[in-house]
Amino acid sequence: MSPSPAVELQAVAKRFGDGPPILEDISLRAQPGEMVSVLGPSGCGKSTLLRLIAGLTPASAGSLRVEGRPAGDPAASVAFVFQEATLLPWLSVRANVEVPLRLGGAAAVDRASTSSRLLGLVGLGNRGDAYPRQLSGGQRMRVSLARALSLSPRLLLLDEPFGALDEMTRERLNEELLALQGAGGWTGFFVTHSVAEAVFLSHRILILSAHPGRLHKEVPVPLPHPRTAETRLQPDYLLLVAQVSRQLRAVSPAG
C-alpha cells in the first residue's frame, strides 16, 4: 500500500482540434518529492505536457492523475510557473505573491505573514512594496516562484522559467530552486532547453522527440544532494551533461 504517485500519465495523447498530434502515447510517473526535467527539441510538446498535468487543457486520450485524482481536480495542490514572470504590474511585489491566497479567500493577516515569509525565502524581503517594473528579470522570476509557493503546493510545474535570464542569474536561481525544493519537499516538473540546468536540478530527465511528441529516453541523474555551485565542477556532472546532450541531439533535427 504505497502512496499514489504524485503524477501518473498512461498512454496520454493530445491534439488540438483536427490538427496533427502534439503528444502521443506518453506514459510516466513521478514520485512525491521527485524533480523531473523534460527536455526536447522545439515543438515536441513539452509545454503542452505541463499544461495537461495542470489541467489547463484536456487530454485527447489516456489517463492523467495527480495524487491519484484526475488532472484539474479542484482538490489538487498544483502551482504553475510560466516562462515569463506573469506578475500583475499594477500590484506591489507583496500583493502579487498574495494573489493565489486572495483568490482562495485567505484572511489578510495570513496573507501578509505568508508573503513576508516567502519573500524572505527568495531573498526579496525588503522589496515587498516595489512594483514589478522596478525589479530585474531575475528578481521578477523570484517573485513568481514565491507566488507559486504561496499555497504550499505539493506539485510545482515550471515551464522554462529561467529561459530569458542570463547565465549567472540562471545558475543562481537553479541553486535557490533546489534549496526551496529540499525545504518544501514538493514534486517538480521542469521544462527547459538547457541540458546543464536539467542535469543540475533533476532526479530524472525525460527526453521527448518531436512531431509528434513521444517519450524518447529516460535518464536517471544519480548525483548526490545537496547540489551546489561546486556540483557543476564534478566529473560525474559533466559526463552526464555530455551524455544527455548526445541523447538530445539524436532526436533534434539538424540545423
Binding site: A54, G55, L56, P74, V78, A79, F80, F82, E84, T86, L88, P89, W90, L91, V99, P100, R102, L103, G104, Y131, P132, R133, L151
Partner: protein, 263 residues
Amino acid sequence: MPRPNRRLLLPVVTGLLFLGLWQGMHLYLSDDLRFLLPSPEMVWRAWEEHGALLLRATANTAQGALLGFSLAVAVSAGLSLLLSLSASVRSSLYPYLMALQMTPLPILAPICVIWVGAGLRSVALLTFVIAFFPLVVNTTQGLIATDRNLVELFQLYRARRWQQLLLLRIPAALPYFFTGLRIAATISPIGAVVAEMNAGSSAGDGGGLGFQAVIFASQAKYAALFATAATTCLLGFALNAAVLALSWSALHAWHDAYERTDR
C-alpha cells in the same frame, strides 16, 4: 534639471514663433483684405471687449460638455463590460454603435431637440453621442486584451468570474480606458459647441460658445470669432489636463508609459 525646463520652454517658443508668423501674414495682406486674418493684437482686443461674455459662454458650454462627457463615461463603462463578454455580443452590437458615431451631429441635433427639448439637454445628449464611441472601443479592447498567461494563472487558482473581472481584467483595461478618456475629453467641447449651433445653447444667459460664434459670424466680427475659437480650446485643454492628472495618479506607479527615464 534641464529636462522639465526644456519641456516647458519648447511650447512657449513654438507659440511665439507661431504668433510672429501670424502677425507677419496679417501685415503681408493689403489693407482691404486684412479683415480676413485679424492680427493677434486685434484678437486680444476683441477678447478684452467680449471676454466677460465669452467666459460666461464657456461656463455654459462646459455644463453641456461635462454632462455629456460624464454620461459617456458612465454608459461606456457598462456597455464595455457587456461587450467584453463575448465576440458574438460584439458582432451583434458594434455595427450599430458605429452607425451612431457616423451620423453627423447636425442631422441628429433636430431629432434630439424633438426628443428632449432644445438647450442643455440636447447639447449634453449630442456630446454624449460623440464622446462615448472612443470610450467604448478602447475600454472594450482593454477588457478583452488581457495577457493570456495571466488569465490562465487566474484559471489555475480557480478564480471566480467576478474575481477575474475585478482583480485582473478591469485593472488591465485601465490604460486603454484612459486613452479613450483623453480622446473623449478632447472632442467633448467640440461636440458641445457644434451641438449648440444646431440645438440651442447649453444653459443660462448669453448662451454658450456655439451660440456666440453664430452671433459673431452674423455680425462679421472675425476677430471675436478667433477669440471664441481660442476660448473653446481653453475648455478642451482644461478637460485634457484633468484627464491627464487622473490618468497619472492611476497609472504612474506601475505603467510603463510613465517609466522614469533615469532607469
